[in-house]
Amino acid sequence: MKWLDTEETVRFNEVDTYGIAWYGHYIAWFDVGRMALLKEFNLRPQDMISLGYMAPVVDLKCTYKHPARCGDVVLIRTTVVKPEIAALIFRFEINREPDRTLLARGETTQVLMTVENKMLYRLQGELKQRVETMLAHFSG
């Protein structure tokens, strides 16, 4: 499985009273990874809108293994899985550099809608082409 990697450094304002990265920030890190990946395939939210679609997140999972602390460099690994249904499913791993300790694993599911709020049951046209290019890249 191929992954796209991005890095972030845990900021002072991201740690909680326990001195570890607040659990909600992991979701923001997932988004950093997903945006970097989507940019490669012209599927960023602004690209979706210009094609006439939206892809809202309808499901989110995150499992925490180890904490991150202020100043830690976290490696955000993102990949996309081929779903049987008309949805986009991304998987994430957050690792701590330099030893790549696994901190968290996650997954998001997005459904596809037209900008008029109509759900898509199957992908068509330019959107289908871009999504298939992205899936082919990560399944190869």
Binding site: V58, I85, A86, A87, T109, V111, M119, L120, Y121
Partner: protein, 101 residues
């Protein structure tokens, strides 16, 4: 499959079982699903991902395509509507197959 599709009672029961199995509704039995209750929102309370799963199941089992949400809204209104939709679409699909053959 022709026999099930052509027998409305059997088809209702088949569709209920298909929904239970596809969506892994472990605490629900066929008897809990009313033929006329809405499948989404205040009926069975299914969500958008459930709709996508059912669309794929129906396509795989009956070779019947539910194109988009407009069609889906009618088809998924209830078990009864879904049966009517499948019977109509399945019939036309079989006719086009025999015409082609």
């Amino acid at each position: 499959m022709d026999e099930i599709v052509n027998n409305t009672q059997q088809l209702h029961s088949y569709l209920k079982q298909m929904i239970i199995e596809t969506l892994k509704l472990e605490e629900i039995s066929q008897d809990d699903i009313d033929d006329d209750a809405p499948l989404f929102k205040d009926g069975l309370g299914l969500d958008s991902i459930d709709a996508l799963e059912l669309v794929v199941a129906i396509e795989n089992i009956f070779n019947v395509v539910i194109e988009d949400e407009d069609v889906g809204k009618q088809a998924f209104a209830s078990i009864r509507s879904l049966a009517v939709f499948i019977q109509a679409a399945y019939g036309s699909h079989q006719r086009s197959l025999s015409a082609a053959g």
